[in-house]
Amino acid sequence: MTERPLLPELLRANGISRRGFMKYCAALTSALALPPALAPKIAWALENAARPSVIWLSFQECTGCTESITRSAAPTIEDLIFNAVSLDYHHTLMAASGTAAEEARLAAMEANYGKYLLVVDGSIPVDNPAYSCIAGISNLEMLKETAAGAAAIVAVGTCAAFGGIPHANPNPTGAVAVGDIITDKPIINVPGCPPIPIVMTSVLAHYLTFGLPDLDELGRPKAFYGETIHDRCYRRPFYDKGLFAEGFDDEGARAGWCLYKLGCKGPTTKSVCATVKWNDGTSFPIQSGHPCLGCTEPNFWDNGGFYKPLSTPAGDYRRVGLAAAAAGAALGVAGGLMGRANKARAARAHEAVDAHDLEKKS
């Protein structure tokens, strides 16, 4: 791997100036909510750091996360960074196939044992490991084997982070997240369906420069998952004024009012979609007129329908409610009967008295 060109050379070869690279590093620094003075440090780390080997495993996934990073027509800086960090194994991106590909993985593992970074996208089926195999090796086995020598794991995409769509009800393969299987390694969850490219690269940059970033209670880097989309949404003023689109083609929708009533999950979804946006800062779902699906949150697929407002209960509450009401009524009737029996018993025990029976006579 050492024969690979260093990042500066790659940048020059692709016509990206030093100034452009430094601007990018500043953007990363700001995205990571780090002090601006640290931008040169990030640049230095990206240019000179140990270039740890990265092994990327894809399990039950749709390749959307890889697409997200490599989507752009022209090679992007993100792409280059992936090249710069020695991406030694990636099903989709590597030229090798078959036995040669697996050998590359084993070779990378051996050469950098205990030091390489493991990136995983996709969930892992545990009901029957045969549901998803690569080169005859089940996902579960490959993950365990590869994770054993990793310095840290980045679970990219909601499938790897929380189980994602394969995990959605009725979860036929018994899909689980990386964190459900590997418990003895640091895991950074970078959920999203897919995640925003700069979020993925920033996390890698942070890892190279400073080590593990600060994580929230769901293992997500706080820099990117610290605030809800709702709090940063440009449609928020309409929400505050109570101006809501009620349909996709009504006055409110045309006027760009809040999509809350159309099922927007922005208020409960933590991500930087509203600020960083997608496709080089072009737009994000709400800007294009569609409610947020909440894809960076666990179980987003099962949260009661994408077009139901958050205030509508999710799940089969009607049946549960009826059953609870029936059980409550039965309990109430039973309680009432018991109370009535108690009262009737007391009435039977009543002995009529006259005024002379109201004193204690001993």
Partner: protein, 421 residues
């Protein structure tokens, strides 16, 4: 038979019904009932919060009528009610409550706290925890016909006196009369002038009336004690007397709880509706006024105010009638603050007036009425309950306000009756 804890608890158990269960369930502990209670307001003692006075009944309900309570009781966790508890609550339930009904009126969730006090007294009395004065009165009333003992002779003497004064005969036990009048023991003993007043007013209005020697006592200490067996026995006497004389109506006299007992509790106690009408004397007089059968001449020009008896106004519904009548005869009528349905109790009702132990509390409670009378500069207080009348006189004397005159409304009207033929 003797009163025991077990009899008391059983009596309480009998009293718990759907309204009680819903009242205890819905109480939000807001404390508004405290603000409505004269004993809390004039002493500031939290134990006088009305709903707290019912805590033992609430505890019994929770232990025996709720699911959680039953489970707790099974596990031996429910807090049991002991005789000592009843002894402690006796003063709360009998000394610091006149059953005036203000708390019921202000309760934001509509809990009838007064009704529950009445119910709780059933348990207290059956357990032997009723004030001895009330038990004594109940015994005398049961045995001799009146809480003051045998008043037959006194009644006859007062009737003779009234006949001499007015020259109008009062016929006892007259069958088929329009009305049978009842009297409270307090009137016979202390304010007999009401007899002459009724005699004159009714003759002028062309009403025939009588008094039964078998059921003239209107009071019902069973209602104050909280013992429905006793209350039923006493109310039955009046009902039997009225049925025997085949009267159209029974006149409930100027007495608060008597009206409550006969008009509202009575039919429930005996389990049937009456075949005669029960009318309060002031209600009847206002009816006569409206029909033009009660005419007056001249007016009382003293600065005069009215004290509403709780059981007759707030809990009895007679509010406009006394004011209509006062309009006929009072030149300088002035209302005190809170007059009418939210009037404050004189402090003597619900058996508290007979309870020696409660004398100090009664004295403190009266401060409110005292301030209200002073605020309007009243020279005379008129009322329509002989026991309020008695309490007002007693308390005004205790508070050094003897110059403030107290008078019954019927007597005041008779003073100005235009009965020249």
């Amino acid at each position: 038979m003797t009163a025991t804890l077990e009899r008391g608890l059983n009596a309480l158990r009998e009293q718990i019904d759907a309204p009680v269960a819903s009242f205890f369930t819905t109480c939000v502990s807001c404390g508004l009932c405290a603000e409505a209670c004269i004993f809390y307001k004039e002493t500031g003692e939290e134990k006088f919060t009305p709903i707290h006075k019912l805590d033992l009944m609430r505890r019994l309900w929770a232990n025996e009528y709720t699911l959680l309570g039953k489970v707790k009781s099974l596990l031996g966790l429910g807090e049991k009610i002991t005789d000592a508890d009843l002894a402690e609550w006796e003063t709360l339930v009998y000394d610091s409550c006149t059953m005036c009904g203000r708390c019921t009126l202000v309760c934001p969730v509509g809990n009838d706290i007064t009704l529950m006090i009445r119910k709780m007294r059933e348990g207290m009395s059956a357990a032997g925890h009723a004030p001895k004065e009330l038990v004594g009165a109940a015994e005398r009333h049961s045995d001799y016909g009146s809480p003051m003992g045998d008043l037959h002779k006194a009644l006859k003497a007062q009737i003779a006196h009234a006949e001499k004064e007015t020259g109008i005969p009062i016929e006892l036990d007259r069958e088929g009369a329009d009305y049978m009048a009842l009297l409270s023991a307090q009137e016979i003993a202390e304010y007999p002038g009401v007899l002459a007043a009724m005699s004159r007013i009714f003759r002028k209005a062309g009403i025939t009336w009588t008094i039964s020697t078998e059921g003239f006592e209107a009071t019902n200490v069973g209602v104050q004690l909280g013992n429905r067996d006793v209350a039923r026995t006493l109310v039955s006497r009046v009902v039997a007397a009225a049925e025997k004389l085949k009267v159209k109506g029974v006149i409930s006299p100027e007495c608060g709880h008597a009206y409550q007992a006969l008009r509202w509790e009575g039919p429930n106690l005996i389990g049937k509706t009456y075949d005669f009408e029960v009318v309060h004397i002031i209600e009847l007089l206002d009816r006569l006024r409206a029909e033009g059968k009660l005419k007056t001449k001249g007016k009382d020009d003293t600065r005069l105010t009215f004290h509403d008896p709780c059981q007759i106004n707030r809990r009895g519904g007679i509010n406009r009638e006394p004011r209509n009548l006062l309009g006929l005869v009072a030149e300088n009528f002035v209302e005190t603050e809170d007059a009418g349905t939210m009037n404050w109790c004189c402090g003597g009702g619900g058996g508290v007036g007979a309870n020696e132990r409660a004398a100090d509390l009664r004295f403190k409670a009266f401060n409110r009425k005292k301030r209200q009378f002073e605020a309007v500069g009243a020279e005379k207080v008129v009322t329509m309950c002989a026991y309020c009348h008695h309490t007002l006189e007693e308390q005004l004397e205790e508070h050094g306000m003897e110059e403030l005159e107290v008078e019954g409304l019927t007597e005041l009207l008779a003073e100005y009756l235009d009965d020249e033929d």
